[in-house]
């Protein structure tokens, strides 16, 4: 019985975004859509264990939820005339998309990621409405109290309603301006899961899986947007290395990872997407954006049979391109890592030392490694200490502590 219910919960979460998006389009109200979807789940819990799961569970849930919503609106006579009117004119079209851009989830994700909403609210709403995560799950994933997260989501929904933020995919002119906001939300969800500093591991893995799922949906809906493809490729190529990233509670750097443990299927899929981006960029002459470039960098790394085979000249060239579109000291820091392989640690250290990143643990860790390679043990030790102090991630601290411990003893003086 509980197994059956767990299976239904899984289907429900899988279909939640589709169901809610369709109901939001139909009733023009997020709260009505969520309540109705919740009621449909209760009905499913009652019926499916006996009747079996219907062949199109998403369609079944949407229809059931739609009927429940209509019942509720009829019952509550105090609902304003607008809802009644919406009810009268609404059609009962099936939720299957008729064309890619018609998909209700695409409308809803642009609503959730609207620039008029606070960035943290965009992430939370996207996970709630499209990912089907519960408020407690989202609160736990972002390490904030449940009441805070509930308020954040309620406030955002109230603004959508009160300010009339539309359920609409922006038109071509605005799409270019609005798409980066959506991609940023998805990538943030992914990183929140991938770079987990603490918290429940299971929930965190859920976040990366959810981000990839949203990335796949967006890619299916907007196949001609190269940055959408780039983001999906980037996430797949990063996810492919997940299991080798930590060993024995200690962080394993990219160059030390067991490449045999990388997920070859994800890498193949990611490489294919990167190739299609490159082909498109060559064809259109449009400069690749940051997600495509980050994906390409990851493709070069995952292409090398061993760390020693890494094409560092390609990596450095890609970071140059990335710096041209997204000039940030973090990009310059990552570029310097490639420079260390090409031109030696001394050249790289000079570049790293110029970067204003003294609050960033990776800056200290990079310096520490370069100083270690230059045999400057005393300075390396101080840099490792600074790096350890600047991170809360236990696996990273363990790694840094071991590297510090392996330094040659400092000459007395």
């Amino acid at each position: 019985m509980s197994d059956a219910h767990a299976a239904i919960e899984r289907i429900y979460r899988e279909e939640y975004g589709r169901v809610v998006a369709s109901l939001v389009r139909r009733f023009g109200d997020i709260d009505i859509a969520e309540e109705a979807a919740g009621e449909a789940l209760l009905v499913a819990m009652e019926k499916w264990p006996q009747d079996g799961v219907p062949p199109n569970p998403g369609g079944w849930l949407t229809t059931t939820a739609g009927n429940r919503a209509i019942d509720r609106i009829r019952r509550e006579s105090h609902r304003d005339a607008k809802h009644q009117a919406a009810l009268m004119i609404s059609d009962d079209t099936p939720h299957e998309p008729t064309g890619p851009v018609e998909d209700d989830r695409l409308r809803l994700i642009f609503t959730c990621c609207h620039p008029a909403l606070a960035p943290e609210a965009r992430v939370a709403l996207t996970l709630r409405l499209l990912g089907g995560l519960t408020v407690p799950e989202i609160a736990q994933a972002f390490l904030v109290p449940e009441t805070t997260m509930a308020q954040r989501i309620t406030r955002a929904k109230k603004k959508i309603k009160g300010a009339h933020i539309p359920y609409r995919v922006p038109e071509a002119d605005d799409l270019t301006a609005r798409l980066p906001g959506v991609l940023a939300v998805i990538y943030l969800v992914f990183n929140e899961g991938y770079l987990a500093s603490s918290g429940e591991a299971a929930i965190r893995e859920d976040l990366t899986a959810e981000a990839i799922r949203l990335g796949r949906i967006l890619h299916a809906l907007l196949p001609d947007e190269p940055e959408v493809t780039g983001l999906l490729a980037l996430m797949l190529l990063t996810e492919a290395r997940r299991t080798t990233r930590v060993a024995g509670g200690e962080l394993v750097t990219l160059l030390e990872q067991d490449r045999g443990g990388w997920d070859r299927a994800l890498i193949a899929e990611g490489h294919e997407l990167v190739r299609s981006c490159l082909a498109r960029a060559a064809h259109t002459g449009r400069r690749p954006g940051q997600y495509q470039l980050l994906a390409a960098i990851n493709a070069v790394h995952t292409d090398a049979p061993s760390a020693a085979d890494t094409q560092w000249d390609q990596i450095a060239a890609l970071y140059d391109q990335l710096y041209a579109v997204a000039p940030s000291p973090v990009v310059a820091l990552n570029r310097a890592v490639a420079v260390a392989e090409l031109d030696g640690p001394e050249v790289a250290l000079a570049q790293v030392d110029r970067l204003p990143l003294s609050g960033y643990h990776a800056w200290h860790a990079t310096r520490a490694d370069l100083l270690r390679r230059l045999g400057r043990s005393g300075e390396a030790r101080a840099a490792y200490d600074a790096a350890i102090a600047a991170t809360d991630n236990p696996a990273e601290r363990a790694y840094l502590a071991r590297r510090r411990g392996s330094l040659a003893p400092t000459e007395p003086g």
Binding site: D80, A81, K82, H114, A116, G162, A163, H164, I165, P166, R168, P170, D174
Partner: protein
């Protein structure tokens, strides 16, 4: 259709910047705002608009108690105050934000967009 308040909020820096403007520069801003207003009217988005005198001209009236109390100046001392506003009609926030972007460019100031409460039964 919903109504939105587009307010032009001035702080001390904005005031200083406006004071520093030459008459010609001010004339350019006025002309840009006029053009914007005409567009609002032509496209049916216009409800009302106006520029306000400076906050020194404010009088506060409080008739919530036993007697009517009239005092010079705004009720609360603030560093920012309303310089002018538009009330527009727009189908949704995206449309209102597009108008606000144009209005901001025209009046050379930031613009706050705020929806009106729905009238009951609207």
């Amino acid at each position: 259709m919903s109504q939105y308040l587009l307010s032009v909020i001035h702080n001390a820096e904005d005031m200083a910047a406006m004071d520093a403007m030459t008459p010609e520069e001010l004339q350019t801003v006025f002309a840009a705002v006029d053009t914007f207003n005409e567009r609002l009217q032509r496209e049916g988005a216009w409800v009302f608009a106006g520029g306000l005198q400076t906050h020194e001209a404010t009088t506060t009236v409080d008739n919530t108690g036993a007697e009517t109390v009239v005092t010079d100046g705004p009720f609360a001392e603030t560093k920012e105050y309303l310089g002018g506003f538009w009330i527009i009609e727009a189908p949704d926030l995206d449309a209102a934000l597009r108008w606000a972007a144009e209005g901001s460019k025209a009046c050379a100031n930031r613009v706050e967009v705020r929806p009106f409460q729905e009238e009951p039964g609207a």
